[in-house]
């Protein structure tokens, strides 16, 4: 994947570059917002990691220009915003300007790489019909699932719940959110029913090392795949 890092702090920029290169991405780095806007106008990046506190043209302005003037080739470029400001800053928190995710400095590298993976997966999902999570692959067009390349039988509601969880890896998805996402299936769903689907999914996926964690009183979280 092609990534652009816009960060004026050299040590942080080099650290991010090395971490993301180690993940197998091609990474470009710039310290200037103007250059980022130019670069994004000329070629497509699969993800832009954008610091807000840039000299001269700040990250908000860069983001605004990316969203209004950048040539979108094959869907919008996902943007992960980095900020030394507080999450309380509504512009960041609300992601009004069209950022796809944000992280407050300093952050843990595993969290960053997890978010990057999630964003890349999401942008791929926009483009392609395949969702991949470790040994699990979902063909959303043919509505067929594969685990370790073997076909996996999923009931319709199990499929729906899994799709919701796959859209937010490493993030808690509340039971209400799952119910809402699955509500299109007609009749009322109780939180207990969701528990049943999740436990069925677990019994099918856990042997392959895919973990769905219960967050007591809240919901579920599909963990990053760390190997079987």
């Amino acid at each position: 994947m092609r990534l652009l890092i816009v960060e004026d702090d050299a040590p942080l920029a080099s650290g991010l570059r090395r971490i993301l290169e180690a993940e197998g991405h091609a990474v470009d780095v710039t310290s200037r917002g103007e250059q980022a806007v130019l670069a994004a106008a000329q070629e497509r990046f699969d993800l832009v990691i954008l610091d807000i506190g840039l000299p001269q043209m700040d990250g908000f302005e860069v983001l605004r220009r990316l969203r209004t003037t950048a040539v979108d080739k094959g869907g919008p470029m996902p943007v992960l915003v980095l900020t030394a400001r507080d999450a309380v800053d509504d512009r960041v928190h609300g992601l009004d300007l069209g950022a796809d995710d944000y992280m407050v400095k300093p952050f843990a590298m595993p969290e960053l790489t997890a978010r990057v993976r999630a964003l890349l997966r999401r942008s791929q999902a926009h483009g392609g019909p395949r969702i991949v999570h470790g040994p699990l692959a979902l063909d959303t067009v043919a509505r067929r699932a594969f685990l370790k390349n073997e076909p996996l039988e999923l009931a319709a509601r199990e499929w729906a719940v899994l799709e919701v969880l796959l859209g937010k890896v490493e993030k808690i998805v509340s039971k209400e959110a799952i119910i809402q996402a699955v509500a299109g299936w007609g009749d009322d769903l109780s939180p207990n029913a969701i528990e049943v689907y999740v436990s069925r999914l677990r019994s099918k996926l856990e042997p392959a090392g895919i973990k769905i964690r219960t967050v007591r009183g809240f919901g579920y979280m599909l963990e990053e795949f760390k190997g079987a």
Binding site: G15, V88, K105
Partner: protein
């Protein structure tokens, strides 16, 4: 220096001139009144003398007074005073009347003289006047006691002094109550200032304060403005410093984590782990300082209608990851809990409670975050099944930089102090109680009604 009473001071300044005015006013009113009155009484005596003079008749060896008893009675008649008279012959010899009635001093015999004298042990007012004795001049002395004159003097004094005394008394009363009334606006001003919360540095509204206190109000407002400016600049500095720290810390963390991802000799790895932990703690401290700066009185101003449930939900991700790192079962019991407050501060308060619970619980422990309403009070609380906080330490753990002696973990001792300040800033209270289970503790923030 003892506080000086403005009232006493005013009275001290006013009373001597008032007393002087009283005396002067008395004198000024008394003399112009008493003079003509005295003259009128003197004239009465003179008239008696003139009448007496007409009864002087020539006799064998000089003159005598042929005064009928009825006339004598009429002349001596007076409602208050005893009237005395004496008629002297041309050579000064007594012809008739009261023996020993003193003559005026001075040699002039042929003029009318009024004078004060003493007769029969009493003060008398007397007149001496010449009377015709044929070709020669006789002298008539008429005197009366001073009862009605004294009475007149007393009446005059009373009638002039009484109103003046009343005026003086009224002045004292006016000063006494006038000062109280006049200082009323100051008292209201000080009430208004007293009623303020410590963080309220808004200027005082000069409307409704009297002209005379405007300089005081504007001086106070100037001071308030300076204090709030300096408080703001201090907060800006702290906030900037904390923000500025974050980027290099992010770099430091990135590189230590990169290094830790590589194969390393055991000792180097252990050292690097220490650096990594220190980096994380420093970042947390920067956040806490930022929160403290924000929680300072005067910094607030972001109050909004919030729901503690939503706040907890929005940060649940980060907390769950912290909890997973320590193998702790973090659970939620979130109910609707509407409050008025600053989102950043309340999230920081919750984060500190959750962080503490996770930090001080044993691995595999259980931490529960609750929000909701008890009665009409919204609350947020975090309960753990860790070692708990001994009763005796519950006050002290709320102090800045205090850590229970012998506690493991790497906290700064700021967490609960921050929670307390944030709670106080929202009019909320923080309470530490035993957990519902066998061990652990529960820290709750309870918000004011509505």
């Amino acid at each position: 220096m003892a506080a000086r009473s403005l009232r006493a001071h005013l009275l001290r300044m006013l009373l001597p001139p008032i007393a002087a005015l009283l005396v002067l006013g008395g004198l000024v009113a008394y003399y112009p009144t008493i003079e003509p009155a005295t003259a009128a009484y003197d004239q009465g005596l003179i008239d008696v003398g003139i009448s007496l003079g007409t009864y002087i008749r020539p006799a064998d060896a000089g003159y005598r007074l042929e005064l009928p008893a009825a006339v004598d009675q009429v002349l001596r008649r007076d409602s208050y005073d005893t009237v005395y008279y004496r008629v002297l012959g041309p050579k000064g010899e007594g012809i008739a009347g009261d023996e020993g009635l003193p003559e005026p001093s001075g040699a002039v015999v042929d003029a009318v003289v009024a004078y004060d004298a003493s007769y029969k042990g009493q003060k008398v007012r007397a007149v001496a006047l010449p009377a015709q004795c044929g070709a020669a001049a006789c002298r008539v002395l008429v005197a009366e006691t001073t009862v009605k004159r004294k009475r007149l003097a007393r009446d005059i004094l009373f009638s002039t002094l009484l109103p003046e005394m009343l005026i003086a008394f009224a002045t004292v009363l006016i000063v006494w109550f006038g000062v109280k009334r006049g200082l009323g606006p100051l008292a209201r001003l000080s009430e208004e200032i007293k009623a303020r919360s410590p963080g309220d540095l808004r200027p005082i509204d000069p409307a409704g304060t009297p002209e005379e206190t405007r300089p005081l109000v504007s001086a106070l407002n100037g001071l308030l403005e300076e204090v709030s400016q300096s408080s703001r600049s201090q907060q800006r500095f702290l906030a900037n410093a904390a923000h500025q720290l974050r980027t290099p810390l992010a770099g430091l963390r990135a590189h230590t984590e990169l290094a830790l991802a590589q194969p390393l000799p055991t000792e180097v790895r252990a050292e690097l782990e220490q650096v990594h932990q220190a980096t994380i703690r420093t970042a947390r401290l920067a956040n806490q300082l930022l929160a403290l700066a924000r929680a300072e009185p005067g910094a607030r101003g972001n109050a909004a209608e919030l729901n503690l449930k939503t706040l907890a939900e929005s940060d649940a991700d980060a907390w769950v990851h912290q909890a997973l790192a320590r193998d702790i079962d973090l659970g939620f019991e979130l109910d609707w809990a509407p409050v008025q407050g600053d989102a950043f501060l309340l999230r920081e308060a919750l984060a500190n409670l959750v962080h503490n619970a996770i930090e001080y619980s044993h691995r595999g422990g259980r931490v529960t975050v609750r929000t909701g309403e008890r009665g009409a009070h919204a609350f947020a609380e975090v309960e753990d099944d860790g070692p708990g906080i001994p009763e005796a330490e519950r006050e002290r753990v709320l102090e800045r930089f205090y850590r229970i002696p012998g506690t493991a973990g790497t906290g700064s001792g700021l967490g609960l102090a921050i929670v307390r300040e944030i709670a106080a800033g929202h009019g909320a209270t923080i309470s530490i109680t035993d957990a519902t289970g066998a061990k652990g503790c529960r820290v709750a923030i309870t918000f004011p009604h509505g």
